[in-house]
């Protein structure tokens, strides 16, 4: 390819990434803007919106809900995901293909459809919307990601580790906790992080499922935006970016640190 085409391609790529990341950068910058309004021009550096954020009870409550919801979602989706992966990778049974498809399907089905479906199902069971429902819903949405990550790793773990452990006297359950789970840990951890992030970010389905009066961070922001663009939202955006980007980076770093220590 000629250098002119290359240059064009490079420029185009830079532009695409620019358009993708510019809004995020804008939010990050505006979070520190000492202005009455959540926009340009910059009037000076200040942490004032972070202080206001910390004193906004509604937001703190939403943040607490989101974190609790995210952690419980991670716990449930990871536990189920690991068990499902074990069954799908290590055992033979009838209808395996169908179950795989079924477990992965929440990724393929539009979220709105999934949300309405679960809601109608709950209505049919005469159950009110609740935190529990929200938790179940988020776990369903997060489960496929956990299954995909854990399954991929489990396929890579040779069976003879488990067979060796069994031959040495470990029962199937002991083998799982002593050998399989430790070897699977990086994927379990990654899956849990995925699940947390997915739950923490989710808005579409959450709007359908949350009981009245309960807000997560995304629905809270959405609600605040309906009135006006408060500069607090920029600060909140900064916090959310820190959590959703920082957490996986931290985990990756930790994983690398531990694996280096061992080898």
């Amino acid at each position: 390819m000629s250098s002119r085409v290359w240059r064009l391609l490079k420029t185009y790529t830079v532009l695409v990434y620019g358009f993708m990341f510019a809004p995020i950068v804008v939010v990050l910058i505006l979070a520190f803007n000492n202005s009455q309004f959540g926009g340009f021009p910059i009037e000076g550096f200040s942490l004032r919106w972070f202080y206001e954020l910390a004193e906004n009870e509604a937001i703190i409550r939403a943040l607490r809900t989101s974190v609790t919801l995210g952690m419980l979602t991670a716990l449930i989706a990871t536990t189920l995901g690991v068990l499902a992966s074990m069954a799908l990778v290590r055992y033979q049974f009838r209808g395996k293909q169908w179950i795989t498809t079924f477990l992965i399907s929440p990724v393929l089905v539009p979220e709105t459809v999934l949300a309405v479906g679960l809601l109608i199902f709950l209505r049919w069971l005469h159950m009110p919307r609740s935190f529990g429902l929200l938790l179940i819903g988020h776990s369903i949405i997060a489960l496929p990601f956990v299954v995909l990550v854990v399954q991929a790793r489990l396929i890579g773990i040779r069976r003879d580790y488990e067979e060796a452990a069994r031959s040495l006297g470990a029962s199937p359950v002991q083998t799982f906790f002593q050998i399989t789970l430790p070897l699977l840990m990086p994927a379990v951890f990654a899956g849990a992080l995925f699940a947390f992030t997915i739950s923490f970010d989710n808005i579409t389905a959450t709007i359908f499922w949350r009981p009245s009066g309960m807000e997560t961070v995304p629905t809270q922001i959405f609600g605040m935006l309906r009135n006006s663009v408060s500069p607090e939202i920029n600060a909140l955006g900064f916090v959310m970016i820190c959590i959703t980007v920082g957490l996986p980076l931290l985990a990756g770093g930790l994983a690398r640190y531990f694996s280096r220590r061992k080898v």
Partner: protein, 357 residues
């Protein structure tokens, strides 16, 4: 230590029969090799003894007890894999001690046993390292230490040397045999490598396509193979079309187009039966080349594969191609030369045509 017995054990995977009713005895304290090409069912037999597979029918006994329904972790077996299967997240010491945890061994005793096992495999002092810090040969020694430290009733070795490079493999097989002799554990060894089988075994079980072709000592299977398959799988053999022209109390006389009449001792014709069609087996190293004009059948050298102290000759007698392997005394014969081929009939064997009779 215990005797292992398979009674008409059969294994089927879906429509595929992996093992056709096998009756085998692994004597107490013996080193028995299951030998055959890949897919012959040897690994399936090993996995059934270990409990990793369940026989479709038939019984497996260890020390006289039927163990078909005993799960693997209650069988007290030592298992060594081709890829070592050391737990990568555990130190060498923890790997070896793994089986002891399930055997009510006190802590102090445990450390002593681990040290002892490491001494046996001649790798003392590596307790605190991780498997990835050891070479392949060392990892396989650790795998062996982990398997023998629990004092298993039976030691099962699934191609344990295949992943090692050639020099190390020969060194390890001597060592493995020495260790087995020393601790005297009943061992079942699976391999597709005939030289490993011949060098290490008390008894060899040759398998092909899910069936046992022959059971015998290394000398027996090498010198008096029961079938064409066994003759061809171990060493280099020439198999010649032959007719039985006479039988007496001590010999069977075979006639071949290449060598005329050859009296084969009866002990080398055990599986021949009453058929008049037969195969005469002559080992490549039992065909001796002499200079043109000396005693023997005239043959033409077509190619020479020079191997240092040995030369492998590809010869032609009439329409038949033969292989001979001779020590080189002076200069080897060259391609295109005519030589005189001779052999000792006592070193030949008479085999039935096709499968075992």
């Amino acid at each position: 230590m215990a005797r292992v017995e398979l009674k008409s054990v059969r294994k089927q995977f879906g429509p595929v029969v992996a093992v056709h009713g096998a009756d085998v005895v692994f004597e107490e304290g013996s080193f028995t090799t299951l030998l055959g090409p890949s897919g012959c069912g040897k690994t399936t037999i090993l996995r059934m003894v270990s409990g990793l597979e369940k026989p479709t029918s038939g019984d497996i006994e260890i020390g006289g007890n039927r163990i078909n329904d005993v799960p693997i972790h209650k069988r007290n077996l030592g298992l060594v894999f081709q890829n070592y299967a050391l737990f990568p997240h555990r130190t060498i010491g923890e790997n070896i001690a793994f089986g002891l945890k399930y055997r009510d061994v006190p802590k102090s005793e445990m450390a002593r046993k681990v040290t002892e096992a490491l001494d046996i495999v001649r790798l003392p002092g590596v307790e605190d390292r991780y498997p990835s810090q050891l070479s392949g040969g060392q990892q396989q020694r650790i795998a062996l230490a982990r398997a023998i430290v629990i004092e298993p009733d039976v030691l099962l070795l699934d191609e344990p040397l295949s992943a090692l490079d050639a020099n190390l493999r020969e060194e390890m097989r001597v060592e493995l045999k020495t260790i087995q002799d020393r601790i005297g554990v009943t061992s079942i060894f699976v391999t597709h490598d005939q030289s490993e089988a011949l060098a290490m075994s008390d008894k060899i079980i040759v398998m092909s396509a899910g069936r046992i072709e022959q059971v015998g000592t290394p000398e027996e299977v090498y010198n008096t193979p029961a079938s064409e398959f066994v003759a061809g799988f171990l060493g280099a053999a020439n198999l010649l079309q032959a007719r039985v022209i006479n039988r007496d109390a001590t010999h069977v006389v075979l006639e071949t187009a290449e060598f005329g009449q050859t009296p084969v001792p009866l002990s080398h014709a055990a599986t021949l039966g009453q058929s008049n069609d037969a195969k005469l087996m002559v080992r490549a190293e039992k065909l001796t080349l002499g200079p043109k004009g000396s005693d023997g059948v005239a043959a033409k050298v077509e190619a020479v594969d020079y191997q240092g102290q040995l030369a492998r000759y590809f010869l032609r007698v009439g329409d038949t191609q033969l292989q001979a392997m001779n020590m080189i005394d002076g200069a080897p014969f060259g391609a295109g030369e005519t030589v005189a081929l001779s052999m000792n009939p006592d070193a030949c064997a008479a085999l039935p045509v096709g499968g075992p009779a």
